[in-house]
Subunit: 340 residues, 2 copies
């Protein structure tokens, strides 16, 4: 059993304080929490990764100092920070390895450099794991014992929290849930293998499947010159645009969305049968589709796994959203307290 | 981190003692272990399930008493027993629910009845979980921290041990690993859904796929009148017979075996990417195929998951085999010691 979680939030901030940092390819998010896990300050800044990793560390430290100042927090009361990045990483050495979306930052000892700039010990985590941890302690999973988190973005990431602890695996590379297979003879995935759910149902894959079908002559308002012409939409909005077309009744887009739900549900049903978790939390841009996604997804998962497990497992959107960064801070806090 | 495991085995049996019971559709296995986890006595008896569950409890208790007698163990030094059965079950209530292979025993309170007959507290576990626990503490996984076990028999069962603890899930139905999907639009499974690895790669499914293909006219020594004519083989030996035909060079049988390996590897690769475990242990009749199974299976799994995870994860046969029953005894022992 995990330690009891605080469910009340007190107005008075409690010493000591913890800083969370979440480094993505486009944005860095920074949060400060108090000893009760309450978020006191939050800020997002551009990663500007072309300036390099060391420069980003300096800028992150400056933002942290300003956030503390603005909130009248004495820097000496900050005892620890947590930093999360995309994998692959070497958790033990505190190093980013070779993440595809941070090309200039490879093999950078980000944990120790941040510790140097902040003057406190820093813990290091995979971004999806940290988000799962945050949801467990302060978000959608606050009242529960186990959850699985899926990030539906450019790729599909995952985090697994069992009885209050993140399951990291023997080499800290567990929970690569985008690479759960949904077809033994399926689509080729960026990871080099075949059939991974990421190759079917990440935002990127949804757009790719759509474009393939349009090239093959599918009739849709998404086709060039159509009312919802996909070619005119910014890259990061394309997936949402396809969901919108489906909502507006475009038959082709509806099929794309329906297929996406089958693919996601297949992987999620496997996870329900594997973990019998209290909850699966979905995180990322695709969840903006709301009930258009969650309604049919819940039904399809229930069709594909054991009844008891399906009945147990709530399928919900992330509650923290952009504030998932506090997972890093909470992780640092609980590590200090011996819970993590 | 799990408690340190004993790796030496002392000749002198150490008090107190623990009894393990493993109830299957055909056989019941009984084992006695000492406080160091050493197996002191083992016996198998027929389930004779038509006589009913209560009768089996009486017979099990009689065998336990005889085993203790024969090994000069004072019954008072037995402090606890563990019993394992196929699911579905209600662990909290200690009840068998409705397992397909124990049709006359439904809704039987087996934990409390065995406790009554043995005069000691009894713990209750799913058979595959107990086998996984046994492998972890005393079998193939003795030197490791995490393992996933798959039973390849009539169906495919599973057990997950993470840092010395079985992961049971919110309703004690986790690790239904036979129902990890390998195809979103695949074969129909006995569980009522589609694409489960059990529907492709259990011993039953291997025979079924073979028979389907033979009916459709596949040419093989396994066809009626052929050298290895499958129709003449006892039901429980058919799968082994197909592996044998493949070994002898029958092209059709080789394809069936090769496909089976792809199916198993797909599910196992998903498990490696999910858990990054130290080990996957395979248990059950199909593992008798030895290197014919394990060689190509290891290669196929490595092709289908992340390199680091594949490199880490040993894929090995069960070491305890029929003695997996001691997993139940060890589970009872560790529960008493607060480790389970």
């Amino acid at each position: 059993m995990p330690p009891a979680k605080s469910t009340t939030s007190s107005a008075a901030a409690q010493k000591p304080f913890f800083v969370g940092l979440d480094v993505g390819g486009t944005n860095i998010k920074i949060g400060v929490v108090d000893d009760a896990g309450q978020t006191l300050a939050y800020q997002s800044l551009r990663t500007e990764q072309d300036k390099g990793a060391e420069d980003a560390c300096v800028r992150m430290a400056a933002v942290v100092r300003r956030l503390l100042d603005e909130n009248n927090i004495n820097a000496n009361d900050v005892v620890r920070a947590g930093i999360a990045t995309p994998g692959p990483m070497d958790i033990a050495k505190g190093m980013i390895l070779r993440p595809g979306n941070l090309p200039g930052w490879w093999d950078f000892p980000i944990r120790d450099r941040m510790s140097h700039h902040l003057g406190v010990p820093v813990t290091f985590a995979n971004d999806a794991n940290a988000a799962a941890y945050g949801e467990f302690w302060s978000g959608a999973g606050k009242q529960y014992h186990s959850l699985v988190l899926l990030t539906l973005g450019t790729g599909i990431g995952g985090g697994i929290v069992l009885n209050g602890k993140v399951w990291h695996g023997a080499d800290d590379i567990a929970a690569e849930l985008g690479h759960v297979s949904i077809c033994y003879a399926g689509r080729r995935c960026n990871c080099g293998t075949i059939g991974c759910v990421e190759a079917y149902a990440s935002a990127t894959a949804v757009v790719k499947r759509t474009q393939e079908a349009l090239r093959q002559g599918a009739r849709s308002a998404l086709a060039k010159g159509g009312k919802l012409d996909l070619s005119k939409v910014a890259k990061e909005d394309k997936c949402g645009h396809i969901f919108l077309a489906a909502k507006r009744g475009d038959a082709f887009a509806r099929k794309i969305v329906a297929d996406t739900i089958v693919y996601l549900a297949t992987a999620m049903a496997s996870l329900v049968n594997t973990f019998n978790p209290d909850m699966i939390v979905l995180y990322g841009g695709m969840t903006k589709a709301g009930s258009q996604l969650f309604g049919p997804l819940r039904k399809e998962v229930a069709k594909r796994c054991f009844k008891v497990g399906a009945h147990r497992c709530k399928i919900v959107p992330s509650k923290l959203g952009a504030h998932a960064v506090i997972g890093s801070a909470l992780s640092a806090m609980h590590l200090l307290k011996g819970n993590a």
